[in-house]
Amino acid sequence: MFIELHNISRSFGGNQALIDVNLHLEMGRVGLLGPNGAGKSTLIKILLGILAPSSGTGRVLDHDLASAGIALRRAIGYMPEGDALVPGMQGAEYVALAGELYGMARKQALRRAHEVLTYLDLGDARYRKLEEYSTGMKQRLKLAQALVHDPPVLLLDEPTSGMDPAGREGMLDLLVRLGKEHKKAILLSTHLLGDIDKVCDAVIILHQGRILCQGPVRELCQRRHDRYRLQIQGDPTGLLEELRLEDVRILRDNGRGEYRVQVPADWTTQAFFKLAQVHNVVLRGLQADDEDLEELFHRVIGENPNQAPP
């Protein structure tokens, strides 16, 4: 079992940050979603053994949350959101220091630092001062320091923050690979739903200190009969105007001729083809579509507005 929490609550004075949190997660890639102030940071602190819960019990990787703070952090590679760099150090020194802080012997830590940096494509930059690293390189460096002791679990806080699209894609591919090929359990906390969509196979949605839903993304997203994906070839302006007049909502336009639409109850798919013919465009693709993660998030939050603490 990756994470097992029973009725975990945490309060700060009169403020309830977490309320009766119950979690049962098997090893895998899990996304942690929630608006600001939802209790994500508090939950991560508890999972890292930095903060003790006010009540409730729990285990992470068979370590008891109440007593195994240091042992817990040794089993987890944590990538913080902020820079958290030591100025004046070189990349290899920094990652090796992380290894030593995890308890590795100096020589092993140094050797492992070089391996991990090379794996993360920072081999050429490992002797550069940290101040000279770009934002994307810093993110990879932070991942390297979390990975240096080869932990079974990676706890990543906004791992793609500040990265360019190519760097972000690369980072997400890497996380998927670490999870699938190297069996790393990943808990990914991010505001970017796309990151979770790409990397995670399960999600936890946290709101006002409570877990609103948890489980595999595909199971949580509702099957919808009013959503379609359209691929249009030609000038779509007229067709889109017509669709709007027919009460079809354009949910997403990716700018490359692909659209996600929501149709009214009495709509038939034949209508798409008829309208396409009228407006002289080719409908190259038409696919029924289910709720995506963003819709799931908004639906779950919307169904639970302002849950006041008991």
Partner: protein, 329 residues
């Protein structure tokens, strides 16, 4: 492979798993201290100040040879001229001036006092590099997110500062001690070396060696905890210099004004932290309480109590300060 730095292609090497034993968290104290020291030792300013300290050390080191030469010349002139003439007057003057370099408690008391001034200046400049930057650049998150406690971190930083203090005080003092011991092995073996030969006062031998180590330990323990607390409070160099100098120079001047100028009770010298340190240091070196200057001054236990109190306040502050750092935002 153009644009490799920014495009992300993690395919150069297959990920390799690692299996090995982990050391206990106490082993992490040394890497923390080593990295802090490494950051400091890369600064030219530190080596400049260290060079000043070395100049002082060399003055004591070679001054001892000058004293030995003056002693030998004095006996030669006395044999040659007897009491009728006094050509050795100048040499006697040199001898008198250099007498504190004879390896007795005076030698080490003066050495620690002079060297202490340079240590204080060095620490005021080093504090932000050793500790303050961890707060300014949020490196503390990097440390505390690892399997270590906050006391491991604080201990690591204190050790780094203590090593700097020891490098500038105890280490050269031990070299001076060794110089005298190699010159005359009785100096090392006989505790009553000075009283027996009437060339100085105070203990010699192993007692003096332990006294030097005690004085050095006192300085390094107190100054390291105080600096770590002050630097985690002030963080930046300039504010830290102002606070540090106020503690060691302004309070000293104030204590002198109160006690010497306004004739307040000698206990007012307790606000002078450096005076408390030297008072206890001289106690370590075997000075009787009544022989210690400046007079009047507080008792040894009073000075010790003040230093203990300041240390306790610093540790309590450090506990709160490191606890308030948000590791996860």
């Amino acid at each position: 492979m153009a644009g490799l730095d920014e495009s992300f292609m993690p395919t150069l090497l297959h990920y390799r798993s690692w299996q090995g034993a982990f050391h206990s968290s106490w082993w992490t104290v040394w890497p923390i201290a080593r990295v802090a020291l490494g950051t400091l030792l890369r600064r030219r300013l530190f080596w400049t100040l260290y060079a000043f300290g070395l100049l002082l050390f060399f003055m004591f080191f070679f001054g001892a040879y000058l004293l030995a030469w003056a002693e030998s010349q004095l006996s030669v002139t006395q044999q040659q001229f007897g009491k009728m003439a006094d050509p050795g007057r100048m040499i006697r003057g040199i001898r008198g001036a250099l007498r504190i370099l004879n390896g007795s408690q005076d030698t080490f008391q003066y050495f620690f006092a002079y060297q202490g001034g340079i240590v204080i200046v060095t620490l005021s400049l080093a504090g932000s590099v050793l500790i303050g930057n961890d707060f300014t650049f949020k490196s503390l998150v990097f440390y505390l997110a690892k399997p270590i406690g906050r006391w491991h971190y604080i201990l690591g930083k204190c050790i780094a500062v203590a090593i700097v203090v020891q490098m500038m005080t105890t280490l050269p003092a031990l070299v001076l001690y060794g110089q005298h011991a190699f010159d005359d092995w009785d100096y090392f073996w006989r505790v009553d070396y000075f009283s027996a030969s009437d060339t100085g006062k105070g203990p010699a031998g192993i007692v003096l060696l332990l006294a030097i180590l005690g004085y050095g330990t006192l300085l390094s323990v107190f100054l390291s905890i105080l600096l770590v607390a002050a630097a985690s409070w002030m963080r930046r160099t300039m504010p830290l210099i102002m606070v540090w100098m106020s503690m060691f120079f302004f309070l000293r001047i104030l204590a002198n004004i109160l006690v010497d100028g306004l004739k307040y009770d000698g206990r007012w010298r307790l606000i002078d932290l450096w005076n408390n340190l030297t008072l206890l240091g001289q106690g370590c070196l075997g000075y009787p309480w009544e022989d210690i200057n400046p007079k009047p001054h507080p008792e040894f236990w009073e000075a010790g109590l003040v230093l203990l109190g300041v240390t306790a306040v610093c540790l309590i502050y450090l506990n709160f300060r490191t606890r308030s750092v948000e590791i996860v935002r």
